[in-house]
């Protein structure tokens, strides 16, 4: 291949790459109008017990599903649920695959650089479940700050940051989903797993011989909001108004999914 030909191939490849990288045309129209015109509210979320999960019939149930359903009803539109891989949920929102993230997403400054959040519609916390075999001798919490201690978390969740901040010396291993992160601790390959409550409590109850909770209270309290693309101030205010108006209802639904296990019969036994 001659130099000239090689260079022209390079140039063409680069051109293709550049044209692909140019940003999508920004949509100017406010979000709410688009939703009303479409007659459908598209909500992105990811499966996460008990926020959103599949019941035995394969249907979605969970706290987020209740919230999304009521929001769509109050807007007078249909609801379209768009399950999305958690890793790519923010890029998907930005690329316009759906209108809102209602996915138990904790409001963090890093995320706020990319998307807007409504005010908190739910408060929850991160908890820790630790391995009886490896961690029962460790002193809480300072004993966990050691290079010999391994934490696990689901990649991309706020808990991973908590570990880095609170136990900077510990090793952190990240998994694609929560179930694998917990299994690693149950297998005795890692000392502790961090995840949003009530999951650490549920797992400890289900595996009493393998897991224990080093602290009864939450490690960190977190606040969850709806995620929106930037540049929709009117819609943001509107959703904030909806959250304020429905505080009592939201609290009651939150109690139901997070404090009770009345819904356990709908889903396979944990």
């Amino acid at each position: 291949m001659s130099i000239r030909r090689f260079l022209s191939v390079c140039a063409l490849t680069l051109l293709g790459a550049l044209s692909a990288l140019s940003p999508a045309q920004a949509q100017q129209d406010p979000l709410l109008e688009t939703i009303k015109k479409r007659g459908k509210l598209q909500v992105g979320f990811s499966s996460f017990v008990p926020w959103a999960m599949r019941d035995k019939q394969g249907q979605w149930v969970g706290f987020e599903i209740d919230v999304s359903t009521k929001l769509a009803q109050d807007l007078g539109v249909q609801l379209e649920l768009i399950p999305t891989a958690w890793d790519a949920i923010i890029p998907s929102l930005i690329a316009g695959k759906f209108d809102l993230i209602i996915g138990g997403m904790t409001i963090t400054p890093a995320r706020q650089e990319q998307i807007d959040f409504t005010s908190a519609y739910s408060t929850s916390g991160q908890g820790i479940a630790a391995s009886r075999q490896l961690a029962s001798q460790l002193k809480w919490p300072e004993g966990y700050n050691s290079p010999n201690v391994t934490f696990t978390c689901r990649r991309g969740v706020a808990g991973c940051r908590t570990v880095e901040e609170k136990w900077p010396k510990a090793t952190l291993r990240q998994f694609d989903d929560d179930a694998m992160a917990f299994q690693e601790v149950i297998n005795g390959n890692a000392h502790a797993v961090i995840s949003s409550e009530p999951k650490p409590s549920f797992f400890t109850l289900a595996n009493p011989g393998k897991l224990f909770k080093p602290a009864a209270e939450n490690v960190v309290n977190t606040y969850e909001g709806f995620g929106l693309r930037k540049g929709n101030p009117a819609s943001l205010a509107n959703f904030n108004g909806w959250i304020t108006k429905n505080q009592a209802w939201l609290k009651q639904r939150h109690e139901y999914w997070f404090r009770t296990q009345d819904w356990a019969a709908q889903v396979p036994k944990l």
């Binding site: 030909r5 022209s8 191939v9 063409l12 490849t13 293709g16 790459a17 692909a20 990288l21 999508a24 499966s47 996460f48 017990v49 999960m53 599949r54 019941d55 035995k56 019939q57 394969g58 379209e80 768009i82 399950p83 999305t84 891989a85 890793d87 790519a88 890029p91 998907s92 690329a95 316009g96 695959k97 694609d176 989903d177 929560d178 179930a179 694998m180 917990f182 299994q183 149950i186 297998n187 005795g188 393998k210 889903v267 396979p268 036994k269 944990l270």
Partner: protein, 311 residues
């Protein structure tokens, strides 16, 4: 190139004389090795069982394959079967589309015109030199998001008559997920098409130039020479490589689960989270992929044998 192609009847090598006496295919040494391997595997499995404190529980996974409808009491496919159907549709249409792209681009890659060669070369180089996972993300978020919304497939679909919608649902899956499906399909075919292009190019180049020259000297036109002499030989040569690429395509289809295409792997992850039965779902998913790929590879091998005989 030629060394890789298995002996085919009709090749220039004279057929081997039949061996005088048929020996037993199994000797004592073979049995010994087989036993040794089995023993090692069993020991490994036992060790893993010890290190791996996991209680297998398949009961909560089965309902996600087939469910009983509470109202009618009839059986209906649940998430895993729905995901499997999407994977099969992706595989089938993906193969067709990747083959179409590969034939066109492979032809362009050998074309006397520089521009066509350049376009095809840039395509192959771009796709082949990017890791698959990165390609999937870049393609979906930078390229497909530019043109997919303007196609408005789901809207066009809803304007079609009901009978047409039913046919399309069988071919491409539920109407509500049509955008999702096409996104995955295009992504997979563009990715796989680059590899098919290289296979087709290799096949075309493996046909000795004398063949085309002979065809021309017999008075065939350029097109006829390609159609009757060059392409048939090229395609026959690349059949084994193509079947390998098709099997690869099925396995690659699990990559699009990263961008939330609701095929088997994506559904399996959903079921994992909902049931908390991680390993059961993994094992089941692996077995399903194995079955699909095994059946495909066997049928392609049959096709190859039949083609070899037909020569």
């Amino acid at each position: 190139m030629r060394e890789n192609i298995p002996d085919q009847p009709g090749s220039l090598i004279a057929p081997r004389p039949a061996p005088p006496e048929r020996k037993l295919p199994w000797g004592r040494l073979d049995a010994f090795w087989l036993l040794l391997i089995a023993a090692l595997l069993a020991a490994g499995a036992l060790r893993a069982q010890g290190a791996f404190s996991y209680e297998w529980n398949w009961s909560s996974v089965w309902p996600y394959i087939i469910k009983t409808d509470p109202k009618t009491g009839q059986w209906a496919p649940n998430l895993l079967v729905q995901g499997l159907l999407t994977t099969l549709r992706l595989a089938l249409w993906g193969m067709a589309l990747a083959l179409a792209i590969g034939l066109l681009m492979g032809w362009m890659r050998n074309h006397p015109r520089l521009l066509l060669r350049l376009i095809s070369a840039s395509y192959v180089m771009t796709v082949r030199n990017i890791p698959p996972v990165v390609f999937v993300f870049v393609f979906v978020y930078f390229i497909a998001s530019q043109f997919m919304p303007s196609l408005a497939l789901d809207q066009r679909l809803s304007e079609l008559p009901a009978s047409a919608q039913e046919v399309l649902a069988v071919l491409f899956g539920p109407a509500a997920l049509i955008n999702n499906f096409f996104l995955g399909l295009v992504c997979l075919s563009v990715f796989s098409g680059a590899y098919v292009t290289e296979i087709v190019r290799a096949g075309l180049q493996a046909v000795p130039p004398g063949q085309a020259e002979a065809a021309r000297s017999l008075g065939m036109s350029e097109g006829d020479s390609l159609r009757f002499v060059v392409w048939p030989q090229a395609l026959r040569q690349v059949l084994p490589a193509l079947s390998g690429q098709f099997i690869q395509l099925i396995k690659d289809s699990s990559l699009v689960s990263l961008v939330s295409i609701q095929e088997l792997t994506f559904m399996a992850q959903d079921v994992q989270v909902s049931t908390q039965r991680v390993f059961e779902v993994f094992v089941l998913t692996a077995a399903v992929y194995f079955c699909i790929c095994f059946v495909l590879s066997q049928s392609l091998a049959y096709l190859e044998r039949r083609h070899a005989r037909a020569r």
